[in-house]
Subunit: 126 residues, 2 copies
DNA sequence: TCCTAAACTGATAATGATTATCATTACTAA
DNA sequence: TTAGTAATGATAATCATTATCAGTTTAGGA
């Protein structure tokens, strides 16, 4: 993996945003400051960074993949009203992968927990 | 919701298959016996049935949505070698949604746990 | 410093999954 | 039987993502 200015920019942009953006959302943020960057470059680098474990790729929240600079073990909640994505602490179910292994004998490489519902903020409104 | 022969066929085809098919996979199975059915009809009805809670739509296993006639609470494991999808019993983490609610105050409507790894069968093959 | 190979880029075409459109058909309640 | 509406099949459109490719940048020697 060779250094590239674009990758640097993409990683910084992701780190500055706690909104778990999709590749396209991040692209739209970045072109404001770097109008020459290509959409494919954003996709490419996000995937590369996720492969290397430098960032996280989150599936299953909606139809698009989201990216997260927080690589610590944690899960996600998406509010079906405001569509905001929240982090859920890992210790909510820290032994779950181990349980699955004990019960099934399957080797677990990745555990993805996603919760859908109404966040506290949207509950009080309305 | 009005009766339709196609919906009946789609539901039966899903019930007969434990393979958690995608809409397209199910379509390819069905046209063998019902060559006139349209792909859009399969998508439409699977989504409709999932909305009504008659079947389950599973996200996050791979890029396509899979469907499951088993509506009992349970989770899924996908083997990264053979791509087979296995059911994981619910009691592996039966209190997890409750835990999230207690910790965050968020109302949980849907909990989706998906595990990726190597199944027992593929482990022994090597 | 200069040179080359490999990695990276931007633009865009291609893909794959899914949804929208629309004219036609099938169900159902009166 | 009929009218109203939901459903259908064919296909165009969309959306997210990946592949392609010619030109550019980077990095590690000579």
């Amino acid at each position: 993996m060779k250094y590239s200015k674009q990758r640097e920019i993409i990683l910084r942009a992701l780190e500055m945003n706690v909104i778990h953006p999709t590749a396209d959302e991040l692209y739209k943020l970045i072109i404001k400051d770097f109008p020459n960057i290509g959409l494919a470059t954003v996709y490419r680098n996000l995937n590369l960074l996720a492969e290397k474990g430098i960032i996280k790729k989150i599936y299953g929240l909606d139809d698009a993949a989201h990216f997260d600079h927080n690589t610590h073990n944690h899960h996600h909640f998406i509010c079906t009203k405001c569509n905001k994505i929240y982090d859920i602490p890992y210790d909510i179910a820290s032994d779950i992968a181990d349980n699955v292994w004990k019960k099934t004998g399957f080797t677990i490489e990745k555990t993805e927990l996603s919760f859908h519902g109404i966040c506290k903020n949207c509950q009080t409104k309305n």
